[in-house]
């Protein structure tokens, strides 16, 4: 790995990267273009790369169809579920990283298995569950559902980050006069901040993108943007321009976030997790 790669291999690597970028970006670019097209251009039988752009789709859906509160809902759901995930998951991960107790690894694996079932398989139980709780069709249901499936991810990633911090650091804090909890909150958490941030961003992205549970658990109040999109599929045809406009707005925060924390995110998903 330390040896510089030979020239043909470098060229090949660039070629692979180029293909990957084209494959990944073309649909996105197409959606960006679509969000600025009128109906005629959208349905042109030969796809148009050049056209007279229209800004009508955005106000039409966000103001005309009153979709802007959905963006607020998405934000509220993602932020609260992320906050909950970190608040519950980070201490749990810390315990997994530091303490030994019978059945620890089994319990850890059990947390992971909650991510292994196909989401649809627990959709109906989840629906019944929230109905029984009287939370169906509320924003709380979505927040709790998202928290429950992101929690395992937090525990999994953060365990590695905490394990990277030497045990003596906690002990030094305890000897310096902190309680166990104090050492965790005031010394370990700040040291794990980059990892925590990366984990939080990942939680945020997953919650923001989530469609299935949100779609099943809320119909009107508390709908996030993702659930709003199917509403644009009308009996009179799909409003592709508006779908694209919503999709662009829905993806923007993720693009921004990923650029901000991509370094930590890669680290979090490789080093930290593997070590855990």
């Amino acid at each position: 790995m330390d040896r510089p790669a030979s020239r043909p291999w470098v060229a090949f690597a660039w070629a692979v990267l180029a293909v990957a970028v084209v494959v990944a970006l073309t649909p996105y670019l197409w959606i960006v273009l679509a969000s600025f097209k009128n109906r005629v251009d959208l349905f042109a039988s030969i796809p148009k790369w050049t056209f007279t752009p229209t800004l009508a789709n955005y106000p039409a859906v966000f103001i005309g169809k009153d979709y802007w509160p959905l963006a607020i809902n998405s934000l509220v759901i993602s932020t609260s579920s992320t906050a909950l995930c970190i608040a519950i998951g980070a201490p749990a991960a810390y315990v997994f990283a530091r303490m030994d107790f019978p059945g620890k690894e089994d319990l850890f694996f059990f947390f992971l298995t909650t991510r292994m079932a196909p989401p649809i398989s627990i959709a109906v139980p989840l629906f019944l569950f929230f109905t029984a709780l009287g939370l169906i069709d509320t924003i709380y249901a979505v927040v709790i559902a998202h928290t429950s499936f992101n929690l395992s991810l937090v525990v999994w990633m953060m365990r590695g980050f905490f394990a990277d911090i030497p045990r003596e650091i906690d002990e030094a804090a305890v000897m310096d006069g902190r309680s166990r909890l104090g050492a965790f909150l005031f010394i370990v958490v700040p040291l794990a901040a980059p990892g925590l941030a990366a984990t939080a961003v990942l939680c945020f992205i997953l919650s923001w993108n989530e469609f299935l549970y949100a779609f099943i658990l809320v119909a009107f109040e508390g709908r996030p943007l993702t659930v709003g999109i199917p509403g644009l599929v009308t009996p009179h045809g799909t409003l592709w321009g508006q779908v694209a406009a919503v999709a662009i707005v829905a993806t923007l925060p993720i693009v921004v976030f990923t650029f901000i924390v991509q370094r930590q995110l890669v680290r979090g998903l490789t080093f930290g997790a593997v070590k855990g």
């Binding site: 030497p166 002990e171 030094a172 902190r178 166990r180």
Partner: protein, 350 residues
């Protein structure tokens, strides 16, 4: 005020027994060194005193008060860790100030205490740096400053010098001795290095397999080792020991005989330190003859490794007297006052 380990036992959850009813008591202001090979329980004993481990049996008393159940923060004990354990996201100043901040000491006083402690340890210039920008020796000083800045009664050091290179280790050793003299706190120092124990300690506690083997001043431990184990552990090169048997005033080992007095008949282990063996002329009557194997020059001395039959020994003598060749015959005298006798089975001093 004194510090007492009263029958301290520690069995870890995985079944490892680190301490078996350790009894140890020392005075305030002492420099106590816990010495032993790895697995002797010295670090565990230190961590039990710190409160980082809960003993599975026994009590810890400080000044007559039972502190066994107290959390570390209420024990008034500071600690220096082997790998320094500095907070890498804080500056050196904030690292040292941390115990004071936790205790909500007024800002001006923190400033004053940190400065004073930093000056004492000669790290005043680095207060604005982050730990990552320090050398090993500087990081070690910061760790010591942090452990002492809040004036704890007791300061624990768990192998604090073992991550430093040889020269720096020697230097820090002197520094610690000076620090102890100036601060007059109780220092408890864990090490496997007998030289550190010899130079630093007011008293050395030698541990082996979770038990206290000997607890005395370094000089006594060196001159009157309580057992064969201590004898071989203290002093480099190690004490020469010979397994054999006494019969009628004559000690017979594998390969040579030695006249002895005042020892009962039966199997016994005799020991003598390499520097106490005398080189004598071939004409000397009571000389034992060994054959030179290897000579090491450790200026200003030389170490002669010699053999006789199945027995081997090391002689330490000033260099330049004679430079024996491989295979040359050495005439040695074992002064009877320098001989140590140990029970052949238990290894206890007789």
């Amino acid at each position: 005020m004194d510090i007492v380990f009263e029958g301290i036992s520690k069995v870890f959850p995985d079944g490892t027994a680190a301490l078996h009813g350790l009894d140890l008591a020392f005075e305030t202001g002492e420099f106590i060194v816990l010495l032993g090979p790895s697995g002797s329980g010295k670090t565990t004993a230190c961590r039990v005193l710190a409160g980082l481990e809960n003993p599975t049996g026994g009590r810890i008393l400080v000044g007559g008060r039972d502190i066994t159940a107290l959390p570390p923060r209420l024990r008034g004990i500071g600690m220096v860790f082997q790998n320094y354990a500095l907070y890498s996201h804080k500056t050196v100043f904030e690292n040292i100030a941390y115990p004071l901040r936790v205790r909500k000491i007024p800002r001006a006083e923190i400033e004053r205490s940190v400065k004073a402690m930093a000056d004492l340890l000669q790290i005043g210039r680095y207060l604005n740096r982050k730990p990552g920008q320090l050398s090993g020796g500087q990081a070690q000083r910061v760790a010591v400053a942090r452990a002492l800045v809040w004036q704890p009664d007791i300061c624990l050091m768990d192998e604090p010098l073992s991550n430093l290179d040889a020269l720096l280790r020697l230097h820090m050793r002197t520094e610690l001795k000076r620090l102890h003299r100036e601060l007059r706190k109780t220092f408890v120092f864990v090490t496997h290095d007998q030289e550190e124990a010899m130079t630093l300690a007011t008293r050395v506690a030698v541990l082996r397999d979770g038990e206290l083997v000997q607890f005395d001043t370094p000089q006594t431990v060196y001159r009157k080792p309580a057992s064969r184990f201590v004898a071989e552990f203290m002093g480099r090169p190690a004490m020469n020991t010979f397994d054999g048997a006494v019969a009628g005033g004559n000690f017979r080992a594998a390969g040579f005989d030695l006249p002895v007095t005042g020892l009962p008949d039966g199997p016994i282990t005799l020991g003598i330190r390499p520097e106490q063996i005398e080189l004598v002329d071939a004409s000397a009557a009571d000389a034992v003859v060994f054959e030179v194997d290897v000579v090491d020059h450790v200026e200003p001395d030389m170490l002669i490794f010699a053999r006789r039959g199945a027995s081997g020994l090391i002689v330490r003598t000033p260099n330049g007297t004679r430079g024996p060749e491989h295979g040359a015959l050495l005439h040695l005298r074992f002064p009877s006052g320098a001989m140590h006798a140990f029970d052949a089975k238990t290894g206890q001093r007789l």
